[in-house]
Protein backbone atom coordinates (compact mmCIF):
# COMPACT_ATOMS: atom_id res chain seq x y z
CA UNK A 1 0.00 0.00 0.00
CA UNK A 2 1.48 3.29 -1.06
CA UNK A 3 0.52 6.07 1.28
CA UNK A 4 0.20 9.67 0.18
CA UNK A 5 2.37 11.60 2.68
CA UNK A 6 0.82 14.96 1.81
CA UNK A 7 -2.74 13.81 2.45
CA UNK A 8 -1.73 12.09 5.70
CA UNK A 9 0.05 15.25 6.86
CA UNK A 10 -3.12 17.24 6.17
CA UNK A 11 -5.12 14.82 8.28
CA UNK A 12 -2.61 14.96 11.13
CA UNK A 13 -2.47 18.75 10.97
CA UNK A 14 -6.25 19.07 11.00
CA UNK A 15 -6.51 16.54 13.83
CA UNK A 16 -3.95 18.42 15.91
CA UNK A 17 -5.72 21.68 15.27
CA UNK A 18 -9.01 20.18 16.45
CA UNK A 19 -7.38 18.59 19.50
CA UNK A 20 -5.41 21.63 20.61
CA UNK A 21 -8.28 24.11 20.58
CA UNK A 22 -11.22 22.34 22.19
CA UNK A 23 -13.94 24.31 23.90
CA UNK A 24 -14.86 22.32 27.00
CA UNK A 25 -18.56 22.15 27.74
CA UNK A 26 -19.37 23.37 31.22
CA UNK A 27 -22.91 22.33 31.95
CA UNK A 28 -23.63 22.98 35.59
CA UNK A 29 -25.65 19.89 36.28
CA UNK A 30 -24.54 16.45 37.28
CA UNK A 31 -25.70 13.48 35.23
CA UNK A 32 -26.00 10.42 37.43
CA UNK A 33 -27.59 8.25 34.77
CA UNK A 34 -30.36 7.43 37.25
CA UNK A 35 -32.86 10.02 36.06
CA UNK A 36 -33.67 13.68 36.67
CA UNK A 37 -34.69 13.31 40.32
CA UNK A 38 -31.30 11.85 41.22
CA UNK A 39 -29.60 14.43 39.00
CA UNK A 40 -31.28 17.13 41.08
CA UNK A 41 -30.18 15.46 44.32
CA UNK A 42 -26.62 15.09 43.03
CA UNK A 43 -26.59 18.68 41.81
CA UNK A 44 -27.53 19.93 45.27
CA UNK A 45 -25.09 17.61 47.04
CA UNK A 46 -22.16 18.62 44.83
CA UNK A 47 -22.81 22.35 44.50
CA UNK A 48 -21.31 24.10 47.47
CA UNK A 49 -23.01 27.39 46.59
CA UNK A 50 -26.34 25.59 47.26
CA UNK A 51 -25.27 23.13 49.93
CA UNK A 52 -23.55 25.56 52.29
CA UNK A 53 -26.42 28.11 52.51
CA UNK A 54 -28.87 25.28 53.28
CA UNK A 55 -26.45 23.94 55.89
CA UNK A 56 -26.05 27.43 57.39
CA UNK A 57 -29.83 27.91 57.54
CA UNK A 58 -30.17 24.59 59.34
CA UNK A 59 -27.48 25.70 61.81
CA UNK A 60 -29.23 29.03 62.32
CA UNK A 61 -32.60 27.37 62.95
CA UNK A 62 -31.14 24.64 65.16
CA UNK A 63 -29.27 27.14 67.32
CA UNK A 64 -32.55 28.96 67.99
CA UNK A 65 -34.30 25.77 69.10
CA UNK A 66 -36.79 23.14 67.99
CA UNK A 67 -39.60 25.58 67.27
CA UNK A 68 -37.50 27.53 64.76
CA UNK A 69 -36.12 24.31 63.29
CA UNK A 70 -39.60 22.87 62.67
CA UNK A 71 -40.63 25.94 60.69
CA UNK A 72 -37.43 26.16 58.67
CA UNK A 73 -37.32 22.49 57.63
CA UNK A 74 -40.73 22.97 56.02
CA UNK A 75 -40.36 26.53 54.72
CA UNK A 76 -36.93 26.15 53.10
CA UNK A 77 -37.55 23.11 50.85
CA UNK A 78 -41.01 24.38 49.95
CA UNK A 79 -39.63 27.79 48.97
CA UNK A 80 -36.82 26.04 47.10
CA UNK A 81 -39.34 23.98 45.12
CA UNK A 82 -41.60 26.92 44.33
CA UNK A 83 -38.63 29.12 43.41
CA UNK A 84 -37.34 26.32 41.19
CA UNK A 85 -40.71 25.99 39.48
CA UNK A 86 -40.72 29.72 38.83
CA UNK A 87 -37.15 29.68 37.57
CA UNK A 88 -38.01 27.12 34.92
CA UNK A 89 -39.98 29.83 33.10
CA UNK A 90 -37.01 32.24 33.02
CA UNK A 91 -34.36 30.22 31.26
CA UNK A 92 -32.60 33.26 29.81
CA UNK A 93 -32.51 35.14 33.12
CA UNK A 94 -29.05 36.13 34.35
CA UNK A 95 -28.03 35.00 37.88
CA UNK A 96 -29.72 37.12 40.54
CA UNK A 97 -27.93 35.83 43.64
CA UNK A 98 -24.14 36.15 43.72
CA UNK A 99 -22.69 32.98 45.26
CA UNK A 100 -20.95 34.86 48.07
CA UNK A 101 -24.05 36.62 49.40
CA UNK A 102 -25.91 33.73 51.11
CA UNK A 103 -22.65 32.36 52.50
CA UNK A 104 -21.56 35.67 53.99
CA UNK A 105 -24.99 36.71 55.30
CA UNK A 106 -26.01 33.37 56.79
CA UNK A 107 -22.51 32.61 58.08
CA UNK A 108 -22.41 35.90 59.98
CA UNK A 109 -25.87 35.25 61.44
CA UNK A 110 -24.75 31.81 62.68
CA UNK A 111 -21.38 33.01 63.98
CA UNK A 112 -22.91 35.94 65.86
CA UNK A 113 -25.62 33.67 67.32
CA UNK A 114 -28.21 36.46 67.08
CA UNK A 115 -31.41 35.82 69.02
CA UNK A 116 -33.73 36.21 66.02
CA UNK A 117 -37.50 35.80 66.40
CA UNK A 118 -39.07 32.79 64.73
CA UNK A 119 -40.70 34.95 62.07
CA UNK A 120 -37.30 36.33 61.05
CA UNK A 121 -35.70 32.88 60.83
CA UNK A 122 -38.57 31.58 58.72
CA UNK A 123 -38.56 34.67 56.48
CA UNK A 124 -34.82 34.34 55.88
CA UNK A 125 -35.35 30.68 54.95
CA UNK A 126 -38.15 31.57 52.53
CA UNK A 127 -36.17 34.39 50.88
CA UNK A 128 -32.97 32.40 50.38
CA UNK A 129 -34.87 29.22 49.52
CA UNK A 130 -36.83 31.01 46.80
CA UNK A 131 -33.77 32.73 45.34
CA UNK A 132 -31.53 29.66 45.34
CA UNK A 133 -34.37 27.46 44.05
CA UNK A 134 -35.01 30.01 41.30
CA UNK A 135 -31.39 29.70 40.15
CA UNK A 136 -31.69 25.90 40.31
CA UNK A 137 -34.84 26.01 38.20
CA UNK A 138 -33.14 28.12 35.51
CA UNK A 139 -30.18 25.77 35.15
CA UNK A 140 -32.33 22.64 35.32
CA UNK A 141 -34.66 23.92 32.62
CA UNK A 142 -31.66 24.79 30.44
CA UNK A 143 -30.27 21.27 30.69
CA UNK A 144 -33.58 19.46 30.38
CA UNK A 145 -33.63 18.06 33.92
CA UNK A 146 -36.86 19.94 34.48
CA UNK A 147 -39.31 19.86 37.35
CA UNK A 148 -38.28 16.44 38.58
CA UNK A 149 -34.74 17.74 39.03
CA UNK A 150 -36.09 20.65 41.08
CA UNK A 151 -38.11 18.15 43.12
CA UNK A 152 -35.01 16.03 43.74
CA UNK A 153 -33.01 19.07 44.85
CA UNK A 154 -35.85 20.20 47.16
CA UNK A 155 -36.06 16.75 48.75
CA UNK A 156 -32.30 16.82 49.30
CA UNK A 157 -32.65 20.26 50.91
CA UNK A 158 -35.34 18.86 53.21
CA UNK A 159 -33.23 15.86 54.24
CA UNK A 160 -30.10 17.91 54.90
CA UNK A 161 -31.83 20.69 56.84
CA UNK A 162 -33.85 18.22 58.91
CA UNK A 163 -30.81 16.17 59.90
CA UNK A 164 -28.57 19.15 60.64
CA UNK A 165 -31.22 21.25 62.41
CA UNK A 166 -32.23 18.24 64.54
CA UNK A 167 -28.63 17.59 65.59
CA UNK A 168 -27.98 21.25 66.37
CA UNK A 169 -31.27 21.71 68.25
CA UNK A 170 -30.53 18.63 70.34
CA UNK A 171 -26.90 19.51 71.07
CA UNK A 172 -26.58 23.26 71.42
CA UNK A 173 -25.04 23.88 74.78
CA UNK A 174 -21.47 24.37 75.93
CA UNK A 175 -18.71 23.46 73.52
CA UNK A 176 -21.05 22.21 70.85
CA UNK A 177 -22.70 25.60 70.55
CA UNK A 178 -19.25 27.11 70.00
CA UNK A 179 -18.50 24.45 67.38
CA UNK A 180 -21.69 25.35 65.44
CA UNK A 181 -20.78 29.02 65.62
CA UNK A 182 -17.26 28.30 64.42
CA UNK A 183 -18.80 26.45 61.46
CA UNK A 184 -20.83 29.58 60.72
CA UNK A 185 -17.67 31.65 60.93
CA UNK A 186 -15.96 29.38 58.41
CA UNK A 187 -18.92 29.68 56.02
CA UNK A 188 -18.90 33.48 56.34
CA UNK A 189 -15.13 33.54 55.77
CA UNK A 190 -15.64 31.44 52.63
CA UNK A 191 -18.32 33.90 51.45
CA UNK A 192 -16.10 36.91 52.04
CA UNK A 193 -13.26 35.30 50.11
CA UNK A 194 -15.62 34.30 47.32
CA UNK A 195 -16.61 37.98 47.07
CA UNK A 196 -12.90 38.77 46.77
CA UNK A 197 -12.46 36.19 44.00
CA UNK A 198 -15.48 37.61 42.14
CA UNK A 199 -14.10 41.16 42.32
CA UNK A 200 -10.58 40.14 41.40
Amino acid sequence: MKANPTAAARWVASALAVALFPLPARAHLISTGLGPVYDGIAHFALTLEDLLPAFALALLAGLRGKDHARHVVIALPLAWFLGGGLGMFFTAHPPIVPGWLPLLALGILVASDLALPRTATTTIAIVFGTLLGFENGISMAQTGTGGRGVLGASVAVFVLTTLVAACVAAWRTGWLRIAWRVAGSWIAAGGLLLLGWSLR
Binding site: A15, P24, A27, G190, L192, G196
Partner: protein, 200 residues
Protein backbone atom coordinates in the same frame (compact mmCIF):
# COMPACT_ATOMS: atom_id res chain seq x y z
CA UNK B 1 -6.96 -2.88 -0.39
CA UNK B 2 -9.43 -0.32 -1.55
CA UNK B 3 -10.31 1.42 1.71
CA UNK B 4 -6.86 1.24 3.32
CA UNK B 5 -5.85 4.84 2.92
CA UNK B 6 -9.01 6.56 4.19
CA UNK B 7 -9.15 4.17 7.16
CA UNK B 8 -5.51 4.94 7.91
CA UNK B 9 -6.27 8.64 7.86
CA UNK B 10 -9.18 8.19 10.21
CA UNK B 11 -7.02 6.15 12.59
CA UNK B 12 -4.40 8.90 12.62
CA UNK B 13 -7.11 11.49 13.23
CA UNK B 14 -8.71 9.47 16.03
CA UNK B 15 -5.38 8.80 17.74
CA UNK B 16 -4.39 12.45 17.59
CA UNK B 17 -7.71 13.51 19.11
CA UNK B 18 -7.45 10.84 21.79
CA UNK B 19 -3.88 11.81 22.64
CA UNK B 20 -4.41 15.54 22.90
CA UNK B 21 -8.03 15.85 23.91
CA UNK B 22 -8.84 18.16 26.79
CA UNK B 23 -11.42 16.41 28.96
CA UNK B 24 -14.93 17.74 28.72
CA UNK B 25 -16.14 19.34 31.92
CA UNK B 26 -19.79 18.68 31.28
CA UNK B 27 -21.34 16.91 34.24
CA UNK B 28 -18.05 16.47 36.03
CA UNK B 29 -16.69 18.95 38.52
CA UNK B 30 -12.95 18.86 38.01
CA UNK B 31 -10.34 20.48 40.22
CA UNK B 32 -12.82 20.79 43.09
CA UNK B 33 -11.24 18.35 45.52
CA UNK B 34 -7.83 19.62 44.43
CA UNK B 35 -8.86 23.17 45.31
CA UNK B 36 -9.86 22.19 48.83
CA UNK B 37 -6.72 20.13 49.34
CA UNK B 38 -4.46 22.91 48.05
CA UNK B 39 -6.14 25.39 50.38
CA UNK B 40 -6.02 22.95 53.29
CA UNK B 41 -2.32 22.23 52.80
CA UNK B 42 -1.36 25.87 52.38
CA UNK B 43 -1.43 26.91 56.08
CA UNK B 44 0.07 23.65 57.31
CA UNK B 45 2.90 23.63 54.80
CA UNK B 46 4.58 26.68 56.34
CA UNK B 47 5.99 26.42 59.86
CA UNK B 48 5.50 30.16 60.45
CA UNK B 49 1.74 29.82 59.89
CA UNK B 50 1.50 26.61 61.88
CA UNK B 51 3.26 27.98 64.95
CA UNK B 52 1.33 31.25 64.98
CA UNK B 53 -2.04 29.50 64.61
CA UNK B 54 -1.26 26.94 67.30
CA UNK B 55 -0.08 29.79 69.53
CA UNK B 56 -3.49 31.45 69.13
CA UNK B 57 -5.08 28.27 70.49
CA UNK B 58 -2.54 28.01 73.32
CA UNK B 59 -3.14 31.59 74.34
CA UNK B 60 -6.91 31.13 74.14
CA UNK B 61 -6.61 28.13 76.46
CA UNK B 62 -4.53 30.16 78.90
CA UNK B 63 -6.99 33.04 78.84
CA UNK B 64 -10.02 30.78 79.31
CA UNK B 65 -13.60 31.91 78.65
CA UNK B 66 -14.66 34.01 76.80
CA UNK B 67 -11.41 34.27 74.80
CA UNK B 68 -11.18 30.51 74.25
CA UNK B 69 -14.35 30.61 72.13
CA UNK B 70 -14.24 34.22 70.91
CA UNK B 71 -10.88 33.82 69.19
CA UNK B 72 -11.76 30.75 67.04
CA UNK B 73 -15.06 32.39 65.99
CA UNK B 74 -13.62 35.79 65.08
CA UNK B 75 -10.21 34.76 63.73
CA UNK B 76 -11.45 33.11 60.47
CA UNK B 77 -13.52 36.17 59.62
CA UNK B 78 -10.68 38.62 60.19
CA UNK B 79 -8.29 36.32 58.34
CA UNK B 80 -10.75 36.18 55.44
CA UNK B 81 -10.83 39.96 55.46
CA UNK B 82 -7.04 39.90 55.03
CA UNK B 83 -7.46 37.50 52.11
CA UNK B 84 -10.17 39.76 50.70
CA UNK B 85 -7.77 42.73 50.75
CA UNK B 86 -5.17 40.63 48.97
CA UNK B 87 -7.64 39.55 46.30
CA UNK B 88 -8.63 43.16 45.67
CA UNK B 89 -4.99 44.03 45.19
CA UNK B 90 -4.81 46.34 48.21
CA UNK B 91 -1.10 46.54 48.99
CA UNK B 92 -0.01 45.27 52.39
CA UNK B 93 3.71 45.80 52.77
CA UNK B 94 5.78 43.51 54.95
CA UNK B 95 3.44 40.52 54.92
CA UNK B 96 6.20 38.05 55.77
CA UNK B 97 7.49 40.35 58.51
CA UNK B 98 3.97 40.62 59.91
CA UNK B 99 3.62 36.83 59.97
CA UNK B 100 6.98 36.45 61.72
CA UNK B 101 6.03 39.20 64.17
CA UNK B 102 2.79 37.33 64.92
CA UNK B 103 4.78 34.29 66.04
CA UNK B 104 7.01 36.48 68.22
CA UNK B 105 4.11 38.41 69.80
CA UNK B 106 1.82 35.42 70.34
CA UNK B 107 4.71 33.29 71.61
CA UNK B 108 5.64 36.07 74.05
CA UNK B 109 2.03 36.32 75.27
CA UNK B 110 1.96 32.58 75.96
CA UNK B 111 5.42 32.60 77.53
CA UNK B 112 4.60 35.51 79.83
CA UNK B 113 1.05 34.24 80.39
CA UNK B 114 -0.31 37.73 79.74
CA UNK B 115 -4.00 38.26 80.41
CA UNK B 116 -5.06 41.50 78.74
CA UNK B 117 -8.76 42.44 78.44
CA UNK B 118 -10.59 40.42 75.80
CA UNK B 119 -10.88 43.33 73.36
CA UNK B 120 -7.10 43.90 73.42
CA UNK B 121 -6.42 40.17 72.94
CA UNK B 122 -8.94 40.04 70.08
CA UNK B 123 -7.46 43.18 68.47
CA UNK B 124 -3.93 41.79 68.68
CA UNK B 125 -4.89 38.42 67.21
CA UNK B 126 -7.11 40.10 64.59
CA UNK B 127 -4.31 42.41 63.53
CA UNK B 128 -2.00 39.49 62.83
CA UNK B 129 -4.82 37.46 61.24
CA UNK B 130 -4.92 40.01 58.42
CA UNK B 131 -1.30 39.22 57.47
CA UNK B 132 -1.95 35.47 57.51
CA UNK B 133 -5.13 35.83 55.44
CA UNK B 134 -3.40 38.13 52.98
CA UNK B 135 -0.68 35.55 52.38
CA UNK B 136 -3.17 32.69 51.88
CA UNK B 137 -5.77 34.54 49.87
CA UNK B 138 -3.66 35.50 46.90
CA UNK B 139 -2.17 32.13 46.11
CA UNK B 140 -4.92 30.13 44.41
CA UNK B 141 -3.40 27.91 41.71
CA UNK B 142 -5.08 28.46 38.33
CA UNK B 143 -7.96 26.17 37.42
CA UNK B 144 -9.09 25.38 40.95
CA UNK B 145 -12.22 26.41 42.78
CA UNK B 146 -11.80 29.66 44.70
CA UNK B 147 -14.51 28.73 47.19
CA UNK B 148 -13.06 25.30 47.95
CA UNK B 149 -9.53 26.70 48.20
CA UNK B 150 -10.82 29.37 50.62
CA UNK B 151 -12.73 26.82 52.69
CA UNK B 152 -9.67 24.58 52.72
CA UNK B 153 -7.39 27.13 54.25
CA UNK B 154 -10.04 28.41 56.67
CA UNK B 155 -10.75 24.86 57.88
CA UNK B 156 -7.02 24.08 58.18
CA UNK B 157 -6.51 27.22 60.24
CA UNK B 158 -9.43 26.26 62.47
CA UNK B 159 -7.92 22.81 62.96
CA UNK B 160 -4.60 24.37 63.98
CA UNK B 161 -6.45 26.52 66.54
CA UNK B 162 -8.21 23.42 67.83
CA UNK B 163 -4.86 21.64 68.19
CA UNK B 164 -3.53 24.63 70.13
CA UNK B 165 -6.60 24.66 72.39
CA UNK B 166 -6.33 20.90 72.94
CA UNK B 167 -2.66 21.20 73.89
CA UNK B 168 -3.53 24.20 76.03
CA UNK B 169 -5.79 22.09 78.24
CA UNK B 170 -2.64 21.01 80.11
CA UNK B 171 -2.82 24.51 81.60
CA UNK B 172 -4.89 23.09 84.48
CA UNK B 173 -1.79 21.39 85.93
CA UNK B 174 1.22 23.23 87.38
CA UNK B 175 3.69 21.30 85.23
CA UNK B 176 1.42 21.91 82.25
CA UNK B 177 1.47 25.66 82.84
CA UNK B 178 5.28 25.60 82.83
CA UNK B 179 5.30 23.47 79.69
CA UNK B 180 2.97 25.93 77.95
CA UNK B 181 5.22 28.84 78.83
CA UNK B 182 8.23 26.95 77.47
CA UNK B 183 6.23 26.21 74.30
CA UNK B 184 5.44 29.93 74.04
CA UNK B 185 9.14 30.73 74.31
CA UNK B 186 9.83 28.22 71.54
CA UNK B 187 7.24 29.84 69.26
CA UNK B 188 8.72 33.28 69.99
CA UNK B 189 12.25 32.10 69.18
CA UNK B 190 11.07 30.49 65.96
CA UNK B 191 9.37 33.80 65.15
CA UNK B 192 12.70 35.57 65.55
CA UNK B 193 14.25 33.13 63.09
CA UNK B 194 11.39 33.77 60.63
CA UNK B 195 11.88 37.50 61.06
CA UNK B 196 15.60 37.17 60.38
CA UNK B 197 14.82 35.21 57.23
CA UNK B 198 12.23 37.78 56.14
CA UNK B 199 14.48 40.82 56.49
CA UNK B 200 17.67 39.32 55.05
Amino acid sequence: MRFGRPIGHFVVLAMAIAAFATPSFAHIQRGEGGGFLTGFLHPISGLDHVLAMVAVGLWGAQLGAPAIWALPVTFPLVMAFGGFLGLLGVPLPGTEIGIAASAIALGAMVMLERRPPIYIAAALVGFFAIFHGYAHGTELPPGESGLLYSLGFVVATGCLHAIGIAIGTIHRWTAGRVALRIAGAGVGLAGLAFLWRAVT
